[in-house]
Subunit: 341 residues, 2 copies
DNA sequence: GCACAAAATGAATACGTTTGCAAAACAGGC
DNA sequence: GCCTGTTTTGCAAACGTATTCATTTTGTGC
């Protein structure tokens, strides 16, 4: 099977007996064209199997109708679901997604360079580490950017994330009210703002009941590292009696390790609270008590914000923080008499 | 912040005091350019913040260096991992991935149209339903396509998948040798070749030990539907004593339902075998006996094949079927005396 | 310094569209 | 049929790059 040379609007024009402009106008929604020539053109187009070349179109319209989606890993189910939703949303608006996976330790600046070269109309970054300088560079080039689920100390770029601080605060006070004395924290990436905010909220939540954080170990949002972190936690003495984990993905690792490796009962021996509320967390084997992030809403806000910035000439950065919902399930001991809010 | 007009090679040329061609040559790896002018150009480029416009480049080179990745859902972890690997692989070859998510019941032909319009250099379809006519259309237009993990009754398009039949066959004979009498099958999408091949192998595997398939229910590769299918299975009488499930994603749903809803023990009351070997399957809570698909190898083969077809003028379709590995864990009763191979 | 090959350069063209502009076709009212 | 106002149409100029070809510059061995 040999490659056919692509058929152009000129060839269609010739066959239909009209000018090339007429053909072009047939494929532009708002252009002015008579019904008669439209029929002629569409007939010829179909006969030749013509499809407008979107590269050429992009060149002249200076818009690729493409969004760069950058993320660092897909092994936490939170992200695949977010990607799927974002994809559907953008497709509905006739935008395409260009996927960039950049490992946490990868050459982020290099990827950034390629993104900018690829002439995308906008950038949606999911939990990618964006240094302030890189963020500035984006803004300099004038490409709209929105950061999802991660923030950066630079006002100039739009960000949507959920209320990590209060999620952490709730976890801290809920565990305190459940009568726990030694609540520990399994962090995500130390460099991530999300993990830091959750941690801070957690510490403050405990403090509001006169407690301090018993220990902190680093799970780096990774399943295996979270297991290892759990082992370290329980090699300490005294052992924690509760754990707040920076993501459900890691929380499951913690649960598995607690139950099947350390032989502990949850929540009788240890309480566990996660963050995200991924589908796994609701499975009967886990029934994880957690803090729900409103994924749908986050994606909706982020895409809407990005599309808005693309359409408008002047880009003005906005920050949106979405509320979080405690999901009471079976892995954290419930406070006996008091109500929590 | 206002949008800056993009800086072009011509402006760089002017600043550097050279021709536009010289600038272009500086950014083409193999072009002939003196060290002296290269320095001048790069200096000017950096000063102006110039980046070659890949749209214009694509137009002239007739290659977008972009691959369409089409899939229907990301909620089975098999796919996110595959996507991540594919992405890394293509990025390393300086190709970009354009993501197309098309729901199982979505307008596939419409998406296909957009893919073709977007001038991708190749298409990688993961488990998407491609009708023969659509496949032919692809081949007609001359865009290289490779189907991953799904095949279609059309020789003209390249396909890589694993040995579904023998995976199913092994499951059937392993369950038979384990002394099960009433082994049932939870299918994936009925229209999918993978599910059908696994089913066929399973039936033949049972038959090789003189057994027949006790029942078939449809899970459509969906978690909830798999739960429902399990309920149906156990509403029947007599109940099955073993289940082969067309994917691990569904197998976990089956396990959850069996244990926590029907109060059955696995493998004492019922044995369960899955397919894929996703990370979840190895978690201590499940320890799912399953048939491993060599994801890494599948992606490697598929990407290599696609890149090869892109580079070569004439496209010749190839089929690659990769071997599958039984993973013996804890959800299926082991045969007592005999060895299986 | 010279002859010659090799390397580097610039002018010009092409890629396949969209779109402003002016000419042409059309419709309606007399 | 003529004048006016509105569509419809074709021409031609972009968009920003890669690349061919002819020309100029550089390098090498004497």
């Amino acid at each position: 099977m040999k490659r056919k040379p692509a058929v152009t609007s000129r060839e269609v024009a010739e066959l239909a007996g009209v000018s090339q402009s007429a053909v072009s106008r047939c494929f532009s929604p708002k252009a002015s064209i008579s019904e008669k020539t439209r029929r002629k053109v569409l007939k010829a187009a179909k006969e030749l199997g013509y499809r407008p070349n979107s590269i050429a179109r992009s060149l002249i319209t200076r818009s690729s109708r493409t969004i760069a989606l950058v993320l660092s890993t897909l092994d936490n189910m939170f992200y695949p679901l977010a990607v799927e939703k974002a994809s559907l949303r953008f497709q509905a608006e006739d935008y395409h997604l260009l996927l960039f996976v950049v490992p946490e330790d990868g050459d982020f600046a290099g990827v950034m360079d390629r993104i900018l070269q690829s002439q995308v109309d906008g950038i949606l970054m999911m939990s990618a580490l964006l240094t302030s300088s890189l963020a500035e560079e984006c803004v300099e080039t004038g490409v709209p950017v929105v950061l999802l689920n991660r923030n950066v100390a630079f006002e100039g770029v739009s960000q949507v994330y959920s209320d990590n601080y209060h999620g952490g605060f709730w976890a801290g006070s809920y565990l305190a009210m459940g009568g726990h004395q030694r609540a520990a924290f399994v962090s995500g990436l130390e460099s991530s703002s999300t993990s830091r905010r959750r941690h801070q909220g957690f510490v403050d939540g405990l403090a509001s009941h006169g407690l301090t954080c018993h220990a902190v170990v680093h799970g780096n949002y990774d399943f295996e590292q979270a297991r290892q972190a759990t082992r370290e936690l329980f090699a300490m003495s005294p052992r924690p009696d509760a754990i707040f984990v920076a993501s459900d993905h890691m929380a499951v690792a913690v649960l598995e390790t607690l139950r099947h490796e350390l032989g502990l009962r949850v929540p009788e021996d240890v309480s566990v609270i996660g963050f995200d509320d991924t589908p796994v967390s609701a499975w009967p084997s886990y029934r994880l008590t957690t803090v729900r992030q409103p994924v749908d809403q986050m994606i909706e806000e982020a895409t809407t914000l990005l599309l808005k910035q693309i359409r408008e000439e002047a880009v003005v950065a906005e920050h949106r923080v979405l509320p979080v919902t405690p999901i009471l399930r079976a892995t954290a001991r419930r406070p006996v008499a008091a109500s929590v809010d």
